[in-house]
Amino acid sequence: MSFEPITGRYLNITVQGRRQRIYVETEGKGTPVLCLHTAGADTRQWRHILNDADLTAAHQFFAFDMPWHGKSLPPEGFQTEEYLLTTEAYMETVLAVSRALGLDCPILAGCSMGGRIALQLAALHGDAFSGFIAIEASDFQPAWYDIDWFHRPDAHGGEMGAALVSANISPFAPKAERWNTLWMFMQSGPGVFRGDLSFYTRDDSLIGRLAQIDTARTRVHLLVGAYDLTCTPEDARRTAAAIPGATCTVMEELGHFPMSEHPAGFRPFFLDALTRMKVPADV
């Protein structure tokens, strides 16, 4: 028997008046860290971190599939609605999951749209967390593509989405992990990537909120891959510069899905980010 240490369970919560059955994976003991996946993907992006015995010796990691993603079902009645993620629903979902898990001010680590919402939560609900690791996260990027490409009856949105986001994966990524990362996009439910991109490419409300983030109370560290075409190092640096006290590290050999596309390359940067969360902001 060689089970991985990760445990997966289901959590029933109510978000904006609707019941949601949320799939949560967890492993470790110590400082709680809540992990958020990217658009069009799921918790599997974090499996290498949750399986890292050295990291889980001092941290209890939680990663959950957003509604409509991975093993979390869409809410009842989904069959007649258009999935469009909003900042408000996303924040309420993260807060509701954190509460339901009984977490006391966890570190929030999110990638891409997860990084975007981490910064929104840092601005609006900073007291609910002890630090923010915003990976491939920036204030705003309008889409250079048409998000409707990814939900249409004459083509497979998942395959097109995977082909598009492959542009964001570093050539240093091991082949197996490159394709595991893309597989999650290929598996994404119809219209889900499009609905996530609606949030990511149309809501620019974070721009005006960045200066509200109080890094004297909770640390904010940004990580960005040099091969990320969606959130470029310039985007992340601009965003960090607008948050007084925030720090930013460029990961030269990584792309937009660092914890998934190149786990070994990402590990030292993530470990450094976790360490930074423990250091008072004024040091």
């Binding site: 083509a155 050539p171 240093f172 394709w179 075409l229």
Partner: protein, 128 residues
């Protein structure tokens, strides 16, 4: 460029998974390099003809325009950021896509892996 395209054609025809991915792709693509035109006509995933321009009469579905130096960097075993993908070339101002972009997106994996077939090492799958 002509020899490189012939090599890519040979590799495509000897790459079963690419022929399978492109089995519904039958269109002409304009590849423009430093202003030189190459009309690539695909049928069911096979690259049937490579015709050099210039031509004002040849219809094409979509075009990818770039320069020889950018392509040379794109075809490095480990390209620098921005040079690692055709959309990266567009992003850094070294490439342009015109025409029916949706037709490209519907066949994106096929076309990106085809464009990667001239890469120095046989790592086209992961680098395209």
């Amino acid at each position: 460029m002509r020899a490189t395209l012939a090599q890519m054609q040979y590799r495509l025809h000897n790459t079963p998974h690419l022929l399978r991915l492109g089995r519904l792709f039958s269109d002409t693509v304009l590849l423009e390099v430093d202003g030189a035109e190459f009309y690539l006509t695909f049928r069911d995933g096979w690259l049937e003809t490579i015709v050099e321009g210039p031509s004002r009469k040849t219809p094409w579905r979509f075009a990818f325009r770039t320069d020889a130096d950018a392509l040379a960097q794109f075809w490095q075993p480990i390209p620098k950021p921005g040079f690692h993908d055709i959309f990266g070339l567009v992003k850094i101002g070294r490439g342009r896509i015109d025409g029916d972009i949706l037709a490209l997106v519907k066949n994106l994996r096929f076309f990106k892996e085809f464009m990667g077939l001239a890469r120095a090492e046989a790592r086209t799958e992961e680098l395209a």
